[in-house]
Each structure stands twice: as C-alpha cells, then as structure tokens.
C-alpha cells in the first residue's frame, strides 16, 4: 500500500555551471541561467510504501512524516536562495532533478529501520514540470 504526503516550499535558484561560459549555460539552461536567479513554488509529494501495522492500522504516522518533511526539507529550503544558503547547492546545480535527489537523500535514512519504505519523491517545479525519483537503484525504471 502507498501513502503520499504533500508539502510546499518557495525558493530561488540559478542554474549555471561556473566552469562553462555564459553562452554555454544559456544553451543548456535557458533563462534559468540568468545570474541573479529566479524562484518557484515547489510542490513535494513524498510516497511511502508498506503494510498497515495491525495494532495501529497505519503504515506510518502521518504527523511524524509531516514533522520529518518540515525539519529536513521545508525549514532549510523554504524562502531561501538554494545556491547560496542550502548545501550541497553551493557546488551542485540546483536543477529540479538534483533537488529531488537531495530530498531523497535527506529522507531515505529515516525509513531504513521501520516497516515503511520510501517509495517515490515527486517534485513539481511548476504545475507543468515535475520529477519522479525512486532512489539510486532506479536509473531507467
């Protein structure tokens, strides 16, 4: 069984590689490479997989999941400039793909021991563009 919790954060970023020329960055990232940055209302969907505990009837305490997302993702990233304020994005380009992978990395250790497993991260950068990530084991599918 799957359960999904949704959360939102707003942040700014700039997508550019310091090693590349402004022209090359513009080719790869388009207006996202504008040096002063821009922002998005990110929407995050965290999906857990597991079987309901017979005693509680729950896969995972959704209040705990809410607090975990708040502490590990929302508090550090909300209303921040990712490149300047949220490591590793001082060194890693904060594309939606890399932000999704970082969110997975922060959440995944919290589910290693329990009965619930982290199944998928969906990160909407805009309503029309989103990333799904199910961990490093999944390259293709």
């Amino acid at each position: 069984m799957l359960i999904t919790r949704r959360a939102e954060f707003s942040a700014s970023h700039v997508c550019a590689q310091p090693a590349l020329s402004p022209e090359q960055n513009r080719l790869i990232y388009g207006p996202a490479a504008n040096p002063s940055g821009h922002g998005h209302n990110y929407v995050l969907e965290v999906t857990l997989e597991g079987e309901p505990d017979p005693a509680t009837g729950m896969i995972f305490d959704l209040k705990k999941l809410k607090d975990l997302i708040q502490q590990t993702i929302i508090d550090p990233m909300d209303h921040r400039f990712l490149n300047y304020e949220v490591p590793p994005f001082d060194k890693v380009v904060p594309t939606a793909e890399n932000v999704a992978a970082e969110i997975w990395k922060r959440l995944e250790p919290h589910f290693e021991a329990g009965c619930a497993r982290l199944n998928n991260i969906r990160l909407y950068e805009t309503e029309d563009l989103y990333v799904d990530y199910a961990g490093a084991a999944e390259v293709g599918r």
């Binding site: 790869i28 563009l129 990333v131």
Partner: protein
Amino acid sequence: MRVTKRYRFAASHRLHSANFSEQENRELYGKCSNPYGHGHDYVLDVTAVGPIDAVTGQVVHVPTLDRLVSEEVLQDFDHRYLNADIGEFQAAIPTSENIIRVIEDRLAARWRAAFPSEWPRLDGIRLRETKRNVFELRP
C-alpha cells in the same frame, strides 16, 4: 529518474465508423458520433527517463523536448479537426486510444534524432481528454 512535462492542445473530433450503420454508430459512440464533431482541451504529459547528467544536472534538456513535442504534435493537432486535418485519422477513428498511439509513434520516430545519446528515453505518455477520462501508454 523521470521528468514529466505537460502540454496542452485544443482539437475537435468525431467518433464515427464507415463500417457501421448510423444506428450502430449511435449505439457505439453515443453523442460522440454527432455529425459535425465536438472538441476537447487535451492535456498531454510526456515522461522522459534516464540518469542525471553529471555535467548539466539534467535528465532531459527540456527545450529540446518542447521542440520535439511542438513540431511532431502540437503544431499539427492544436486547433484542428482531427478527422479532417490529421493524416493518421483518415484511416483510424480519433478515439483517445488511437490519438495516444499516434502521438507515441510520432515522438518515437524522431526521439533518437532529438536525443542521440543512450539517455533520456521516452518513458510514457498520458493523455487527458477531460478531467474524467485519462489514457496512459508505457512503451
């Protein structure tokens, strides 16, 4: 990792087969076989899959995907009567099942030219005819 981009097009169609009588068409397709057709605001989700490129931090170069979908689908389909204006629907009835297959064929045919490397690959297509009717295809 999968990246999904959403596109939209508005088009009209009529579900009607020359192989059936008027009565049979009416029973099979209902009001969708009304003689002058009708339209929808279609929502098309295209999903690409692959590893994150170590240099760019991207799975797919979205402007390249935009160009491919625009040239192969949106420019032909948007604000058109599918039965009359799209070659593939001279032979096939433009049900959403057939529309999504045509879209897959068109994207698959030019995918390698647009993305010459091993990744990204086309992972799936979802077509929303109305809020209540959604069709999905995984190659």
